[in-house]
């Protein structure tokens, strides 16, 4: 399997997301319509979606979505999975044959739970055990890539324009309470199926428009904590930073925003003492997780969605509300196509997160 990083392609990207705060499920077709509006922001080298709440019948099991190059690599990976997990169900991910999407790998889905004996032996939590298995597969197995590993959520991605990728995966047949989407215009890497967004680990998924300039500093740092960056793609490192800060360090999402899109020292100096102290602490303790350069990201997680811009706001992002739904997109038009009669619309400031949790108020800043 050819991986990324051979040469450099200059570029934009498009992101879009929608969530129903009440947890009510709706069709994935909505998000496909939205991302299609921003076709000019992509170049056909990658598109993808994340859906949350799409596997209620298997909600207690990790859903592994896997690309295989060959039957041989599939057999090897399945052997590994058999030795580490109880596989409750496995199947090909249903796809539609369309002329716009070609050269697809074998695409499989497994609902799994760690084998109790293996888990006990590892002395790890279930989530950590699963994450480490995913890293092992992605770094040690040839022609295998696990691109989704959360519970009751799934990532669907491919090389192509996002609206075609949506049709390919028959996204309109899934129902979830939150969907995110990405149209890719790769900046540094040639674009392959695994390199499309969203990037996901366990329940976290990230779609990203931008190009972070701190990639290598962030990568070197995060690899010290057991993460393996296998793709040379900046979004992968953002995903791991969020997993590290949220799942492992226990920071809140607001705190994470203050780490990765930290206010300038000049702004911190002007803050009230108590808030200032907190920001000084975060900037000192987690300086290596500061992300510089342009980005707008949507972070899906178990129970919600977060939107964040880089602190200089070098990428666009619009948020709108209508009833219990919240919409976030690179462009207002991509929201209007989902909901023409929006009630409230605004652009968050650079570094100001918008956090939407199920059955909770929308938090700004």
């Amino acid at each position: 399997m050819l991986r990324e990083g051979e040469f450099r392609i200059p570029s934009g990207c498009a992101i879009s997301g929608v969530i129903d705060k009440t947890g009510k499920r709706f069709s994935g077709g909505t998000i496909v319509d939205s991302i299609a509006v921003m076709r000019e922001r992509s170049n056909g080298l990658g598109g993808g979606f994340a859906g949350y709440g799409i596997y209620p019948e298997y909600k207690d099991y990790y859903a592994l979505h896997v690309f295989y190059d060959t039957q041989k690599s599939k057999a090897e990976c399945e052997d590994f999975l058999d030795r580490h997990f109880d596989i409750i169900n496995l199947s090909k991910i249903p796809t539609a044959k369309i002329k716009e999407i070609t050269d697809e790998p074998l695409i499989w889905r497994y609902f799994v739970t760690p084998l109790p004996t293996k888990l006990a032996e590892s002395q790890m939590e279930e989530s950590e055990f699963t994450a480490r298995c995913v890293f092992r597969i992605n770094t040690q197995f040839d022609g295998v890539y696990v691109f989704s590993s959360g519970k009751n959520m799934g990532v669907f991605k491919a090389v192509g324009f996002p609206e075609d990728v949506g049709r390919f995966y028959r996204l309109e047949e899934y129902e979830g309470w939150c969907f995110t989407a990405h149209g890719r215009y790769p900046t540094n890497t040639p674009g392959w199926w695994g390199g499309a967004h969203p990037f996901a680990l366990l329940g976290y998924s990230v779609v990203h428009n931008g190009e972070i300039s701190s990639y290598d500093a962030n990568r070197r740092n995060i690899e010290m904590f057991g993460y393996k960056c296998t793709l040379q793609t900046d979004t992968e490192v953002i995903t791991y930073i969020i997993d590290y800060l949220h799942r492992k360090k226990g920071l809140t999402l607001t705190e994470i925003s203050s780490v990765i899109a930290a206010p300038f020292w000049q702004e911190i100096r002007a803050m009230e003492p108590e808030i200032r102290q907190k920001h000084e602490y975060l900037r000192t303790m987690f300086s290596a997780q500061l992300i510089t350069g342009p980005f707008s990201i949507l972070v899906g997680f178990d129970g919600g969605l977060m939107a964040l811009n880089d602190r200089l706001k070098l990428r666009s992002m619009v948020v709108a509300e209508k009833g219990s739904k919240v919409f976030i997109s690179s462009e207002e038009a991509a929201i209007r196509v989902m909901e023409p009669e929006i009630e409230k619309i605004w652009s968050p400031r650079g570094g100001e997160p918008v956090i939407i949790k199920l059955n909770d108020e929308v938090v700004r800043g």
């Binding site: 921003m38 000019e40 706001k313 207002e332 400031r349 650079g350």
Partner: protein, 241 residues
């Protein structure tokens, strides 16, 4: 001529219709189509209902574009002449590198309004923002006039941080009673004098007429004027030369 964007393919076909029309054009149901009215020439009027895509009115060359709705990013990119009137809000990088003509925004503007705006010979670009503007207003401003009226934002400062970063020409007027602090060292801020205000008065009058806003209070209020600080130029910013 009325054209529904729903019935025309993409932005190229729409723009072709606008270009080839010999009368004024009204585009309805616009949703994200880019570059609407690119380089529209003098004597032409384009009205858009809906949400035009990025870079509406790019390279505008004398035509008039009126938008009933919000606009997205980079409206009036590198525009040369003409007028853009928006009955709503604008996204980021409004009037990016424009060198002539007028832009009127009824509501708010996003980040970097007027970035890299410049004057050229007898051309002097003007942007009037009715509401608030985001951070980096007038970034790298080299010429022209930016006016922020702050309507509806009377209790707060109608601008963000880092105003006029890299500014070395032009003027920024901000209507507010709040103090403008923490400006870059290269920007000087003063209360606008009657002479200063006389320069922006025609534009404020036009704004009030376009959007049917009460004029008196806009003219009487307190304005600040931001200009490049000639006492503190950039010669030591990058290298000691």
């Amino acid at each position: 001529m009325n054209v529904s964007a729903l019935k025309v393919g993409g932005f190229m076909e729409l723009n072709e219709k606008i270009r080839s029309a010999d009368s004024d054009v009204h585009i309805t149901d616009c949703c994200g189509q880019r570059f609407m009215g690119t380089a529209l020439a003098k004597g032409k009027k384009l009205t858009i209902t809906g949400t035009p895509g990025n870079a509406a009115g790019a390279y505008l060359n004398g035509g008039v574009i009126e938008v009933i709705g919000n606009v997205q990013d980079a409206v009036g990119d590198t525009m040369n002449l003409g007028k853009i009137i928006v009955h709503g809000n604008a996204g980021d990088a409004l009037g990016y590198a424009m060198r002539g003509g007028n832009i009127f925004i009824r509501g708010n503007a996003g980040y970097r309004a007027g970035v890299h705006m410049k004057a050229y010979k007898d051309l002097k670009p003007v942007i009037v923002i009715g509401g608030s503007a985001g951070s980096f207003l007038g970034e790298y401003l080299a010429g022209g006039l930016l006016v922020v009226l702050g309507i509806g934002a009377e209790e707060t400062l109608p601008v963000g941080n880092f105003i006029g970063t890299g500014m070395h020409g032009g003027e920024i007027f901000i209507r507010t009673k709040k103090k403008i602090a923490d400006l870059p060292a290269q920007v000087a801020v003063n209360a606008a004098t009657q002479d200063d205000l006389a320069r922006i008065k025609p534009h404020i009058m036009e704004f009030a007429e376009l959007f049917e806003v009460e004029l008196e209070s806009l003219l009487e209020d307190n304005y600040y004027i931001l200009t490049p600080n000639t006492q503190n130029p950039y010669h030591l910013m990058y290298v000691a030369n």
